[in-house]
Symmetry: C2
Subunit: 310 residues, 2 copies
């Protein structure tokens, strides 16, 4: 990993080069911006929790939402899933590779009033503002479904690598909030984090094809580190998979390396994702793609600061 990579040929010059031409060498770059953008600011997280998020790149809060709230979310999940099955050709609906099962539904804050309201839950927004030190907006929302017996894997990746190169997100002032809509156990394909890996940006080899998202959301092959790079990170940092009952909330930094296995158990693993981005970190032109991804995958024109739901 010594050769000097060339910046991607398409788009703006990036401080985090990736999508390098074939034959380039991967490179590990040290993060040059904070993970927690406030210092001692009041908010829902205690100082030790903020310190953990800064060091490990994630925070897990089991049973964040009460059972009654979760039950309502699960009903909404079923409604969204019914809609998606009936509208499988809607661009927001992503099917599993090689099957008609629904893998993801994007932009649920547009198709679901309940989820749109949940994204503005004052406690979640409090977390987001405390970590990002700014007003925030939703860069992306989605449901990731991993049904019992059939749930498929998500390959290792840093979200920021894609959000930077395909969406034009300037820097790592953004995180994902997972709301677990089913119990997360060690068995049913939990998200695995490489804790601390958010401090390293991995420059990936492989240029961005046009309309890459049409493939990458089913099975990502561009913007993913080599097996050697993943093995190196796991050897350095290990792996951790937070668990908890439905209603658990997990926050993780946009540059944290993560992935998950399939699900052969009867127990579904359904996650609702809200991606909070700092207003000051709003997207510009992509760094490595000819065309930005569509609005339902990466908010571009509808950027407005979120206001607490009443």
């Amino acid at each position: 990993m010594n050769a000097e990579p060339q910046p991607a040929r398409v788009g703006r010059t990036s401080p985090y080069p990736s999508r390098l031409p074939e034959g380039s060498s991967e490179r590990f770059l040290s993060r040059d911006v904070p993970t927690v953008w406030t210092e001692g600011a009041a908010g829902p997280l205690e100082a030790r929790e903020l310190a953990h998020f800064a060091k490990e790149g994630f925070h897990a809060s089991p049973s964040f939402f009460a059972p009654a709230d979760v039950a309502a979310m699960q009903i909404e999940l079923e409604a969204q899933l019914a809609w998606a099955r009936a509208n499988a050709d809607d661009p927001r609906v992503i099917l599993e590779p090689g099957s008609d099962a629904v893998r993801s539904i994007f932009a649920v804050h547009e198709t679901s009033e309940r989820f749109a309201g949940l994204a503005r839950d004052p406690r979640l927004l409090g977390l987001a503002r405390q970590i990002l030190g700014d007003e925030v907006y939703l860069h992306q929302t989605r449901l990731n479904l991993k049904p019992g017996f059939d749930g498929k894997e998500f390959w290792w990746h840093s979200d920021f690598e894609t959000w930077h190169h395909e969406d034009g997100m300037p820097t790592m002032r953004c995180f994902s909030c997972v709301v677990a809509l089913s119990e997360i156990t060690e068995h049913n394909g939990p998200v695995m984090f490489v804790p601390g890996s958010h401090q390293t940006f991995v420059s990936c080899v492989g240029e961005t094809p046009d309309a890459n998202h049409e493939r990458s959301l089913r099975a990502q092959t561009i913007g993913v580190p080599s097996r050697e790079a993943i093995a190196t990170l796991v050897e350095r940092h290990g792996l951790v998979a937070p668990k908890g009952p439905a209603g658990t909330v997990i926050l993780f930094d946009c540059n944290l390396m993560h992935g998950s296995g399939g699900n052969v158990t009867p127990l579904p693993r359904h996650h609702l994702f809200f991606v909070y981005n700092a207003m000051s970190n709003r997207v510009g032109p992509p760094y490595s793609a000819r065309h930005p991804r569509p609005e339902h995958i990466a908010t571009r024109t509808k950027i407005t600061p979120l206001i607490d739901a009443s």
Copy 2:
């Protein structure tokens, strides 16, 4: 699950009917034989460990083998794997479905003196005799390989269902001994048990095609319970996946429902299996197959009681 299933049409009448004609209903039968066949007999397991094995159907002993012993086993594993790659058309070598990766190597007690000796380790034989209350022989041995990144799942099944119907094993007086040749973590596709499920025999629907093992060892589709049956068992009993460093030993009853997911981590999960059967439980004609499986999968002609390695 109420209709009376017909006994399989091929082979002997079975006390554990399975391989039922299409259209039959699955049935849950209560186990009618012990799990631990001695009472208070002296042996390596303490009374509470024996009681746990009887109740849950498994016993895990982390770090059973010392690191130096494990290192020698890992070298032998590499040698066996090199042999298998060079002899991929040997019937003992099973490849992954849709790839040239080695999934399993059968009859390693024949191809490896070291593993043959290990199967006669006095401590392992002590465990086997204590649980089975008899002299024991090797019904089957194999390496199950689950390499980092690429390791594939093993679908839910009871070994006894196959060993009874395809191999003619009379009753549940048999267990598997896993020797972990790599660390077992929650992340790299550990074997998951449905604890206590060994008390239930699930009659499966689907008759046995000729030479079923040529397919089933890559991906089992015959002799597996329905999804509903698996979900029922998991709802009743939960799931548990023992972990431990390389050198860990896990014993589990022949009728314990188990399976495992794929492995997307960089960490391999390689298991050596010794299947100990009671001499009094030696196999006869199959209950539901026209022809017995070959000797390298199910010992039939070379049945001799194991003698402690010196």
